[in-house]
Symmetry: C2
Subunit: 213 residues, 2 copies
DNA sequence: CTTAATATGTTAAAATAATATCAAGGTGAG
DNA sequence: CTCACCTTGATATTATTTTAACATATTAAG
């Protein structure tokens, strides 16, 4: 195992660097220093260098980092060097938004299908992505080796959907449903928790006023 | 200032406790111990007690915490003791989803309006929330003392929208646009970064395979 | 009333993460 | 070629956050 417990925050920052590198490469920038990356990202240059140092030495002293080379390295670190297929479970507004969002923004990740149970929605297309009935999930997951399910169903449906997802063989759920999911051992759930984020944001929005507890 | 640099993670966990407490109160549970809260949330009991201890002593030794009392305390800590008004900027699928999501899930926060520039959308309603033209933002923000803007416009629009938001007097932006926002001093931006979250999730989804960097 | 059991809240220790320092490698001007 | 200047990457330091330990308070049973 080459990775000795990398902090979660490091991985997130890598994903940020990736986005910046994409922009730089699109603008034909070939070399970038940690200091310049610092200005783009808001993280300190030291932190950027240390983050990268967890995985190797990708820069050239006196010069900086080659943008394409670094991008490839980060892609490989994250696991995006080969295309990752995902599915959306729940083709409501949020599911549609995420499907479109993903298709337009992320060349490494492919939404291979969206699933729903509503006969009105099943069979429609979100740009290129077909909305299928949930009963076809296992078939699609096996065919495309789907790694991640994004869960965007109503709360009442979430329990059923989790069962479907687990039965299909997916091990990783990105949960947008504002409730705790109960999953078997070995299934990794990442919660989006938008309302929790909003609440904590409100804390900072109202921080200035005098509080007595 | 009663709060001496509380960790961000503490505030997020408070919002989680709040959600659990809502459920408990709905089920007429009056007392909960930190150990039981631990089982519900996945955080350790010690951490829960320490989080609360940042703000005071809300429990009873030998017994636990009164759910309603603790809920009120957390509401006040976060700043949700008086209703917080927010607006959605960008009434696309994501904006619609977040408007509905919020209305159904969060009694402390009110989406008072959504804004868009598309004449096809302006004038429509998302449940009870009217979609207005962006030109009315300042008026609405002043009328309802709006604290937070949720930004869900396309990337190309984000720069203009930030200007509108800042001009309206809002100091706090919850940004769902996958780009860095450039804002004046004093404006707090919280990034949702869904694609970054997804990428970091994929790291964990593919972690098992042998990686050579 | 006393004692055992339970749970909080405070204080201390450990683990983790961020920041600073600096040697080594690399570039380019003169 | 040499020197001055950059920038990385490794190491050390500091700060932060989590975990653990324990004294204090409460309840209930005998």
């Amino acid at each position: 195992m080459p990775n000795k417990n990398i902090p979660k925050s490091v991985i997130k920052r890598l994903a940020v660097y990736l986005r910046i590198l994409d922009n730089l490469i699109a603008n034909d920038v070939e070399i970038i220093s940690s200091r310049e990356l610092s200005e783009e990202t808001g993280f300190t240059a030291e932190q950027i260098r240390k983050d990268l140092a967890y995985f190797g030495a990708f820069g050239t002293r006196g010069t900086g980092y080659n943008t394409s080379f670094l991008k490839d390295k980060i892609l490989r670190i994250i696991g995006l060097d080969e295309q990752t297929n995902i599915v959306i479970v729940g083709a409501g507004h949020l599911g549609i938004a995420l499907t479109r969002y993903n298709i337009t923004k992320n060349p490494y990740v492919q939404v291979v299908a969206a699933f729903d149970i509503d006969p009105e929605v099943v069979g429609q297309y979100i740009i290129d992505t077909e909305v299928m009935h949930v009963s076809r999930m296992k078939e699609i997951v096996e065919k495309y080796a789907v790694k991640v399910a994004i869960l965007t169903v109503p709360i009442e449906q979430s329990h059923n959907s989790v069962e479907d997802i687990v039965a299909s063989g997916i091990k990783c759920i990105y949960n947008f449903v504002p409730t705790k999911l109960y999953v078997p051992e070995g299934i990794y759930v990442h919660n989006a928790d938008l309302s929790i984020e909003l609440n904590s944001l409100i804390y900072y929005a109202t921080e200035s006023k005098n509080k007595v507890f």
